[in-house]
Amino acid sequence: MQLSKFMRLIQNEFVKVFAKPIAFIMIILIPIIAFGYGFAMKNILKVQTYNSNQGMSDENYVEDYISNLNSSIMSGDGKYAQQDVSDLKEKMQLAIDIRDGKINVDITSWQMTALFSKVEATAMAESLKEYDAESAAKYLKNADAIQKAVDNDDLGMYLDAQISSLDDQIAALTAEEDASRLKASRDVLVLRKSNNIPPVCTEIKYSYNSDKDLTWQENMISSYLTAKASQYSGRSGDGIMTDDQVSANNDEVTLMEYRLNNNIQEISGDSQFGFVLESASLVSVISIFIIIIAATMMAQEYTSGTIKLLLISPHKRWKIFAAKLVSVFLISLILLVILFASSIITGGILFGFDFSQLWLTVNDGVVSSNHALIPCLLKYLLACPQLLVMTSLAIMFAVIMRHSAVAIGVGIAFMLGGSIVTSILSLMHYDFKKFILFMNTDLSVYFPSLSSSLIKDFTGSNDIVSSMYSGMTFKFSLTVLAVYFICFTYIALDSFNRRDIKQS
């Protein structure tokens, strides 16, 4: 009975809001904004790719490479060890042969890699032959095996040759020497062999800054190499790893192995569901819409005098207030669902429909695989507490201001100003910053697995994020949001209850 009375109040709020054009403008605007966001993102990615290519042909790269090596040899004659100089000269000879068409291989192919490694092996053999004939012989054998593999066009043979060469090198190391890098490299080769992933030659064409052109496997293998080396040595770039870091690193290695072995790419920002993950940041647009809806729903009742109709009806004031709060929140959820749906469609249109995308997570060394829709849903679910707090904030402004234009203006100014100030404060080391509302609104920062690989690239594997949010946890943020919600609602309800309706 009580509930049905309350439901009728909510129904009334919906009737009133959806009779206004503003509601439909919002519903139409959300897909447009989502599409605009996707379009911009797609073009940003394109620009990055374009910059790295700079429209150069393969011949230009070879020419550049030759002249670079040439100037190194000329200028560094005295500085380099004899071995290095002969190494450079060999490499330059190889490049010249390619330019002149004596050797006919693609400069990014595995054969190219093989030829370079043959040059290196030969140079090693040359430098070692005087005091370590045994090792020199092994290097020479390796060089022969490589040449044979290239001649037979046999990737497996090449990888085997490299693996056995690494085995020799590891065996030759003394106990004090660090074998972790070599062991990691050997693991990479084994992985390449079992999954038939040919190494891409980065010597001539690619640099480490322009890895956008490389396949995701190639990019992942370079991360894998680092992580695997850390696993062997127990050290990361910062020094000896803590237990937590060790287990995190182990999990990362497991996950990357799983991805490479099963050919499951990370969800990237330029895929359908990757875009959906990115589009969750458009929730701030919904926050602005909430302020407008709350102002129409609350402040306009005062402006038009219709608040009197509500207050002389047989409902206690707090129920009328609660009906409005619940209605604004429900409408914001509807807008969230519209954003979600339009992001899926936009992602499909711009980046290609791909409903087979998978989302991998790893916990204690066990990889679990879910449909890519799951992280998207989770990420949108994490936006709901934020929407609830924004609803109470918007209602508070509407009740206090009692004039829709003023409430909208103040509300939007507070939101934009607040988030700008917070983004500046977040880079500083004030302890109080963690209690600021806008530091706590984005709950997804505590779940890095809910970001697409694009965002991870931007933030540098979460190091910046984690330093920004140091001392904060998911539960902490949730508590802060709850406290803000209670405060805003209390202030608004108190003002709503207390105020006499003096004039129309």
Binding site: L9, N12, K308, D500, S504
Partner: protein
């Protein structure tokens, strides 16, 4: 009349705005089936009292009972018995009139479509019911406001200045509707106004308030009949300056007032021929003699001391 139930009871209401004492010990009873006029000059506290009854303002001290329920203790039951228009007929102007009524019906509960149709017919809005309210004239908005106010079969209907902005035909329609509601359906109608000629035609009882104090609560007959032994007669006499001089000389005790050559004299019925004779003897030309009926306006002016709010 005596057996009728009190459906709206105000007891010693007091209200302060800041340090100003706006409403001072206001009390009255409204019975079912009567039209109760709440009269007072501008700023006398009519609307404030109504807002206190309807729960828009807190009551500093005193009680309001609606249909037997205390307004403060039993808010929802009390407010379910009352409907009204306060200050303006407030509507959602971007909705159609019918949608407005639906919204209000949901607010009230227990109102079905038949009742909505019935009320629309009663206030005479059938032709324009699906138009948006922003296209309505003030008179039509008043009708819609009235429809909203009676939608849920209230026992008490409170109308604050309902004739504002209505044309004469509209006022007559409103009067007919209100008389129907009170006398046929037994609703207690509580009307506030400062337009006395209309109230005189409409109300069964009136309460006169000034500066936040109730001056008198009486039936319409009692108030206009304000207890004089002598009735007043209006004499139309030629040459008003001479006439005034002579009347004040012959019968100063009977003279009440005059507007140019129309003289109001206090005369009993049986004395009228004698007075005419005396005036004729004084060489005054009498063009007409009419019994002067005291209007609500005159009583009101007397009671409120010229109708000026003393705040």
């Amino acid at each position: 009349m005596d057996e009728k139930k009190v459906v709206l009871k105000a007891e010693n209401l007091n209200k302060h705005f800041g340090k100003k004492h706006i409403i001072k010990d206001v009390s009255f009873d409204v019975f079912e089936g009567e039209i109760f006029g709440f009269l007072g000059p501008n700023g006398s506290g009519k609307t404030t009292t109504i807002k206190m009854i309807m729960g828009l303002l807190d009551i500093d001290s005193g009680h309001v009972q609606i249909g037997g329920f205390d307004r403060e203790k039993n808010f929802e039951s009390a407010l379910a018995q009352i409907g009204g228009i306060i200050e303006n007929p407030d509507t959602y102007s971007y909705l159609s009139a019918y949608k407005n009524l639906e919204v209000y019906a949901r607010l009230r509960g227990k109102v079905d479509r038949n009742r909505i149709a019935e009320v629309i017919k009663l206030v005479g809005l059938e032709n324009r019911i699906n138009d948006k309210v922003k296209t309505y004239s003030l008179g039509m908005k008043q009708r819609l406001g009235l429809a909203q106010a009676i939608l849920h079969h209230p026992k008490v209907l409170v109308l604050d200045e309902p004739t504002n902005g209505l044309d004469p035909a509209g006022i007559k329609d409103l009067r007919d509707i209100l008389k129907f509601l009170s006398h046929e359906e037994g609703i207690a109608v509580f009307v506030s106004s400062h337009i006395l000629s209309e109230m005189e035609l409409l109300c069964d009882r009136v309460c006169i308030i000034n500066a936040g104090t109730v001056l008198r609560t009486e039936s319409m007959g009692q108030i206009t009949d304000s207890g004089n032994n002598e009735s007043d007669y209006e004499f139309t006499i030629g040459d008003d300056i001479v006439a005034l001089e002579k009347i004040q000389k012959i019968m100063p005790e009977r003279y009440r007032s005059n507007i140019q050559n129309k003289f109001i004299l206090a005369v009993n019925v049986e004395d009228v021929p004698e007075i005419i004779k005396q005036l004729c003897n004084a060489d005054l030309k009498i063009y007409g003699v009419v019994q002067s009926v005291k209007t609500l306006e005159q009583s009101f002016m007397e009671i409120t001391g010229g109708g000026n709010a003393i705040v």
